[in-house]
Symmetry: D2
Subunit: 481 residues, 4 copies
């Protein structure tokens, strides 16, 4: 089942920073509407702001239409806006950001004009050398109007273009400069380019519908617009799409598989379960995680339930492996939106209560195994356990379909600093007591690669070993008076 | 789980017309915030407009604060508005209406001033003699500023109050005049009154939190605000709440159980599965419907799946009864909101595709039993069946957890006219072919009462036998020039 | 010129309560757009809320389109809304209200359905027996959803219609019941009716454009839409417009001229100077007031200036009579709108400074006669005098084109209670000192009728003699618990 | 009288492109509120978009608050936004742009981060070498996210800063590169800088309030916030303001007076009459223009009237010189706002009629001299003349307080291309006939300098002689594919 809904609960859980969607219709049809539905399918990757930029490949080379703002896809766009956006090439973006830099100026796509015409860009990921690059660019006269990585990358592309034979070559050279996680789409006046970092932290795939090519963060977006999945963009690959040659691939930046580092949390939590990433079904990986939990941390009980939506698939896996029936213990209120007024601390309503309710009929008198995808701060788990007990559960055994969070993430998620991570400060036994469970077990760290058929993954948040060196603090020069 | 989400798909399915929530805090605390969360829990009963009215029982008797508008609860209210609404008694409403009368003037609650001070009203249901009453009232000088039943009831109350010793007596006399379905909450300057029609078409329950009483359409709203469930308002009962006497009950309008007619579709589809209505768990009734389907219309298959969210519980029941494993075949995009731009007929995207996606990993190569709660026009079932086949299902057997729709509803749902009902025009075999299923079976009509432990229900939409005579066309006098 | 602008200064001056505009196109053309421009010309009569209701006289008799909201005409309406409003008959309204009852529920027009079909109403004025009527209506079962007089009048019409041969007869009988100031437009399914109270407190005129009739508060609205002025509705007259008979007049409620009581402040301040009211040019009456000031309170000076906009015409009159040159001493910022953030008490900016600036070139070294239309609380006059002195004026002589305010108004303006009137608490000499002028004179009370060629006027705010008895406090029965 | 109102009539007249306002409070007080009122006083210089950026000079060097959007000052800002903007240094902007580039991306101020920290910029004027500079910057890797000149200037400053000892030196070097009209305000982390082009096309002045310095486009903005006028920024001067040294002036770019070229249309039309520009009262210059018209093109008549608001001052000058009485012939509706729905060509209402109305009492039977500031396309003059005749004028003599427009403007106004200028295609006699006047005369070209006491002015729009070479078309390289 879908594990993407908990993310619209603004005060809880983890967030990824973006989803991208791009399209180029060689038949000249308008792409804005399809991008809208594509972004809609990627809404779970960012609910803070969104935008679409389109351009007409047969029109003037600096001509475009751009609309972006704070809000969900269906808040930012309406029929009139969408119908006013004409162009056969376009890029779209959904964004989440941590507080502070959440402002309209930072919404994507970024559209800019440089000596060779128009560039439209959208980016998912997090660069670890962005500050260094910004400083370096600044020292040669660059100015920055946003605080997003896309602007830094745009500068690099623009500068490299001066020395490059083509825009795709400039993108490639820019990729040589940036470090970290990025899945990037770029539209130039006549080309659509997609680039993925050599580790492959974030997903990126290619689809096709009739004579139109599509680039999307996840395959679910291809399904939504009725496009056929072609393949994933490989880690390190740069793909260029043009009616002149169709798809062209530059794999010169691809590295040995052993250096890949796909974010395992895409499988565990971020991605939609109906997406495949690099050939692995997200749903299947969750089923496996549940099976492993059942094998490694069995417990006698009457019912396995998932914390919706993200725990459901692993709960089904646990059930399949253990033979203990799978059930539905919670009803989730899916109307909690961006503008929802969070209950005050002092009020009688809790955020969890507003969002979830236990099904007493299901829970009453039963020993429950409750599966969740992760525990970050631990602030909601205790309430959900209590909700089950209040509904009549006689025992509550918690199983987590990922290992304990111990380290920060530098590659595009908002895992908080170590001090806020409950597992950094407490043992599993202590956590079990804190959340009030009868027993608690996490997925064994060794199981992680098995959930994705042995694909190389980034598991830095669990063991501190990242597929590339984490960033060191930047040293800045004197500021101006 | 939860079967309430499909309703936010504006172009599909059935809709109920309202949810009500009222509160009176004898300790004098502000109730607006709790009503907000209560309405939030009842959002599935109406996404078109909503509103809250509060009054201070110790203030001047015509003093109140009212805010209502088109939109969802979290669109219509913000922190500032909510914090500006002071009062220890209040009523709230969420509304759905059929197109045409959907306008701001018709949003509820209705607040009015009459000779005895303030009345605030919110109403769920549909009167069948509203036109007659309006005409009668008009003939003695009434004017109508809305087209909602609440206004008609308000007039009756105001007029009866002239001849009554108390406002609750006036409400009772008004109830003698109105026919049809109603679950009504009324606030007067110092009392909160709840009334439910003698058939009990729509649910209505009583809760308590500390020293505050709550009236709500469904028990899930009590859970959300942390209130304790006391009991249901009985069909025909009028409940009056006041610090002077606590709860007072007038059951003189209650009729013999045999004449009760609870809407069975509240159990099948409308209500949230975590609600109990008249002592029967909505979730449990769905489980039973699934079990009966398995008993009466078994089929050999590999997997039972529900069409989310409304088909999931019945699918679990089918699985439990048949022993065929339960699985999750679909991911639903929960971001489809009120303002979502519906794909154009001509476009490549279908509404169903935008809303649902099949989990290929789950479905591929399997014989699937797909459970849905109902088929109304049949326009989406064929696409969902096709989606399963496209995802690799080798067989698709459809089971519907209710009997075929054959008759219109006059009591507060929008079952369309007979000509639009697929079951009115086609046999089950024909429907099976139309939707492209390998087999199709509905719940046997005889099973309906069993799903709710023998409670008397209204099943007029299935057999045309309503618990009261359906309305005859009203005859109007000459209009003015 | 134009004296209507000061009213958009929300914290200052007096306000009238409404403007009305109605139209009936016998050729069947849509009237919404013309009503929009008509209301736009009447915006100075109310900037708080506005609305338009239209109906198709050939459509179903309870069919209409209504749009109203808080805000200015060009804020509340846009192209899409206006183009969606179809109908050949309609009424419009602009409204100002005192704080408290300023809410969306109270916006006009009021549209209602009664036994003879539709009524649409808009009203300018203030009833003095509204409370009594409301109580009386309440005692026979009426309910009130607003606090505006239109609703009371609507009830009376609806009830009288039961005993009347036509809607215009019902309007006439309703007029027999109401006391106070009213200029009323009513649309029924096939008729447009205009009624003016027997004293004629508020203006109301009739116009024609091709085959369409227009009713408007002021003639300037006729000019704006290119309609020809036909005549004023006489005090006490009820005019009925229908394609069956054109214009029909009922003058049976007209009273002897001696009992007329046109609001003199319409001429002095409220109305637009390009309007004629009852045959008297508003502009001309102001010129005369200025001339009388020059005759009665002359002073030696170099320049006569008006406080814009309302003082300009009288200043020109003073100049013409005295021979002292007329000049422009102030520039007014016309962008101060409804949503303008008023400077805080503590801040360095004053409201007057933001709104007005002196022309130093004009003022420097000169003895100035400054003409204003009235002094209410006196809170702004001192700042304007100081502004002139700061700009270099050697003397500032203030002349007011109306007598001192001493009594409240019950007939549709918001003259505050006596305690707030500076002239009630201070002598002219004291006021002169308070505002820092070198001399101060008001228009002599005896001059008032001469400014309007001897028309009978209401001058109650100056001498406490009203053309009808002012209201006595209502006594209300017990409220409900 | 104020001549700034006609500009809110969006379909008519000329527009300037901007107003700027900046403030630095050495005492550390928040400046956002004062900037708000300052912009409000400059609203006539741009009604399309506006914005404010503030920074705390004692906070981190890249910290700021920015708010900008499409709309008027009182539409874009509200109390909450304004109170959330903390900082003791800030810049503000009001903007008008020609259609096409009117979008949120182009709103000002521009805020950017470069190697030395923060820059906030606002700009009034028009560069004639912007395209060349953009191309040049692009060829060294610059990217452009807007199409406004400020971004180009920002790049130059950032690049020059690399080679400069201070930010003011960098601004100075940037000024060496740009050509055309500019009045520029720049805030760095600790300095406020103002620069005006050597010709002095656009105004810019310095004020002081207590310990805070202010830079504004016009002196009227100083008056509004209660600041004292210090002096104008001289043409070519760069002023730097800092608590370290107060005001510092760099006049090394100032040129000989003979090369100055103040836009004469600032005096004739754009600026508020209560402003002084370079020591010359705008109001006084208009009075003089009127006097010269009376001397050079006298005509026998009964009344001199101005087309409000821009023609009023010249009309007073004509009256003073000729002895013919000055009167007010028109009432203007000041509620015509940005969102006003323009009457359709086919409708009965004309834009002019909606905006203006003649005072019949004043005009009837009189020979009128009507003064306007200019005739651009001639599309409204004919209607205004007709309005006077319809109101009973026996003769209408038109006098224009500027010479005929014959050439385009490259320096910050939107005088259209020659083909649209009525005077380019028709003789004065022909124009007189086209607009239906009895006689027509323009201000003699020779009189222009006399209206501003001999100040050197730009009169290129009248004779094609500009104070610098007008731009040649830029030649661009190949765009990218």
């Amino acid at each position: 089942m879908g594990d993407f809904n908990l993310k619209d609960m603004p005060w809880d859980g983890l967030h990824e920073e973006c989803g991208v969607f791009a399209m180029y219709d060689f038949d000249g049809g308008d792409v804005a509407s399809s991008i809208y539905y594509g972004l809609f399918a990627l809404q779970h990757r960012g609910q803070e702001s969104c935008g679409i930029a389109v351009s007409d490949t047969n029109g003037p080379k600096r001509n475009y239409a751009l609309h972006k703002d704070m809000g969900l896809v269906n808040e930012v766009f309406n029929q009139e806006i969408l119908e006013g956006m004409h162009g056969d090439i376009g890029v779209g973006h959904t964004r989440y950001s941590t507080a502070g830099s959440s402002c309209r100026e930072n919404a994507q796509p970024l559209v800019l004009s440089y000596w060779k015409g128009l560039l439209g860009m959208a980016h998912n990921g997090n660069l670890i050398n962005a500050e260094e690059l910004r400083d370096e660019l600044s020292m040669t006269g660059a100015i920055f109007q946003t605080t997003i990585d896309s602007e830094t990358i745009a500068y690099l592309i623009a500068r490299e273009r001066l020395k490059s034979a083509s825009v795709e070559e400039a993108v490639a050279k820019a990729c040589d400069r940036i470090k970290g996680a990025y899945s990037l789409v770029v539209m130039s006046p006549r080309k659509l380019i997609a680039a993925r970092d050599p580790q492959g932290f974030r997903p990126l795939c290619i689809g096709k519908r009739d004579n139109a090519y599509v680039i999307a963060s996840e395959t679910c977006a291809l399904d939504t617009i009725g496009a056929e999945y072609i393949r994933d963009v490989e880690p390190g690959e740069i793909v260029t799409i043009s009616p002149d040659f169709g798809i062209k691939s530059d794999k010169s930046r691809c590295v040995d598989k052993s250096r890949h580092g796909r974010c395992i949390f895409e499988y565990i939590y971020f991605a939609r379960p109906d997406s495949d990433i690099d050939g692995i079904s997200v749903y299947e990986s969750r089923i496996k995680a549940g099976r492993f939990l059942a094998q490694d941390s069995p417990v006698e009980a009457d019912l396995v339930v998932g914390v919706p939506e993200s725990g459901n698939a692993a709960a089904q896996g646990f059930s399949l492996e253990s033979g203990i029936p799978y059930g539905t213990a919670f009803v989730k209120n899916s109307y909690v939106g961006r503008t929802f007024i969070k209950p005050k601390q002092a009020s009688r309503q809790s955020s969890v209560q507003v969002k979830l309710n236990a099904l007493r009929e299901v829970v009453r008198g039963k020993r429950i195994i409750m599966i969740d995808d992760s525990i970050v701060r631990g602030t909601t788990s205790d309430r959900i356990v209590k909700m089950l007990r209040d509904a009549g559960a006689t025992e509550v055994h918690v199983r987590i379909s990922s290992p304990p969070f111990l380290w920060p993430c530098y590659f595009g998620t908002d895992v908080p600093c170590r001090e806020q991570l409950i597992a950094y400060k407490h043992s599993v036994d202590e956590i079990c007591k804190i959340i009030g469970a009868d027993s608690l077990a996490y997925l064994n760290f060794e199981r992680l690669p098995q959930t994705v058929d042995g694909l190389e993954i980034c598991h830095g948040c669990f063991d501190g070993n990242y597929p590339m060196d984490p960033p060191t603090k930047d040293i800045r020069g004197d500021y101006d008076e």
